[in-house]
């Protein structure tokens, strides 16, 4: 028996979001869902609701939910975004959401992109620190106001979410291109006064697969959820690599 008294106004149903979610592999298709809309709801909240309440087989990836780990990036209404800090109000004014895995990467299943190539390119661009000191040496002192340190002030905040890689036209056109995140990582190390692999790193990021393939479309800078500018770092690499090539040291 209904609790509602006869003649009383029916409770208003919560407005629904019309959500289309990518299912399957690269040759999959979008599956529609209706999700209750709430205030201060993020896109990740929507995906979690679908997986927990509507279809438990939905595959997706997340960890921290606070914009630190970089694991929840997806394509939302055609734009790569970190979903844990993307509010539905911001991207679905008409109540419609289309959620797909990151582009420029293979699809494992549903919303999960294969990030191996993305991180392999970090290694290929020599994105690891090579130090010359041992534990017996004094701590290196890096002056916060030095030019080198200031150059990488923002770049070291990269969380490796892959949004820039997914947004990059050059990656789409040139599969060998190292991509914005790997090149920005290399730029932070080129400016690290403690690092000893400067020339090898410049060689790694030069040529057709490296910084010269960036067309300065600025998509990475436009989309980076941390408001970093990989484009500026790549421009710095272009200058450093060009100088080394002209000097004959590359």
């Amino acid at each position: 028996m209904s609790r509602r008294e006869k003649g009383a106004a029916p409770p208003s149903d919560p407005p629904q979001l019309l959500v289309r979610v990518w299912r399957g592999h690269a040759d999959g298709e979008f599956q529609p869902f209706e999700v209750p809309r709430h205030a201060t709801q993020t896109v990740l909240d929507v995906v979690m609701h679908i997986q927990r309440s509507l279809d438990a087989t939905l595959a997706y990836r997340y960890a921290c939910r606070v914009g630190m780990c970089g694991s929840c990036a997806m394509t939302v209404n055609g734009v790569p975004r970190w979903t844990c800090r993307t509010h539905v109000d911001k991207v679905a004014g008409d109540g419609r959401l289309e959620i797909a895995p990151l582009s420029n990467l293979p699809v494992i299943r549903d919303l999960v992109a294969d990030m191996r190539e993305f991180f392999d390119k970090w290694a290929r661009s020599r994105g690891r620190f090579d130090g010359g000191n041992t534990r017996h040496d004094e701590f290196a002192r890096v002056a916060p106001a030095s030019t080198e340190r200031q150059q990488v002030e923002s770049g070291i905040e990269c969380i490796g979410c892959g949004v820039c890689y997914s947004a990059c036209d050059s990656v789409a056109w040139n599969p060998d291109y190292l991509g914005p995140a790997a090149l920005l990582r290399a730029w932070t190390l080129v400016n690290d006064v403690r690092d000893t692999a400067g020339l090898e790193r410049l060689r790694a990021v030069s040529g057709d697969a490296g910084c010269a393939s960036c067309h300065t479309h600025l998509s990475c800078t436009e989309r980076c959820p941390k408001q970093l500018s990989p484009t500026a770092g790549i421009a710095g690499l272009k200058r450093a690599v060009a100088l080394a090539a002209l000097k004959g040291t590359l």
Partner: protein, 115 residues
């Protein structure tokens, strides 16, 4: 092609772009200035023939084109046609030679350096 050679191609394309930017401005300004009252082909040739200044300017213009355009074409072929082998590099050099030959032939004819 080594990464250093690829980087030097990139540098050459940027350097030639700087030259082209200046040449295009001078070229267009000259056309607008010279065409104010109308001008015939014979009058144009009368000004350019035997003029070492125009010979030097348009030779520089043509050579900058012959450097700049083939490198860009190589990039377009690599990215849009997925043609990334030695054949693509050979096509770039061939196109550069074609541009330099056709362009210099026109410059030498207009400045009368061939006659």
């Amino acid at each position: 092609m080594s990464p250093r050679s690829q980087t030097l191609l990139w540098v050459a394309q940027r350097a030639s772009a700087v030259v082209l930017a200046l040449c295009v401005v001078v070229h267009l300004a000259t056309i607008i200035y010279a065409m104010r009252g109308g001008i015939s082909a014979a009058e144009i040739l009368g000004r350019t023939r035997g003029n070492p200044g125009w010979l030097a300017f348009y030779s520089l213009f043509v050579l900058a084109c012959a450097v700049h355009a083939p490198i860009g074409l190589r990039t377009v072929l690599r990215e849009w046609a997925a043609w990334r082998g030695r054949g693509c590099d050979a096509a770039m050099w061939l196109f550069a030679a074609l541009l330099a030959w056709a362009g210099m032939r026109a410059v030498l004819a207009v400045t009368g350096a061939l006659t």
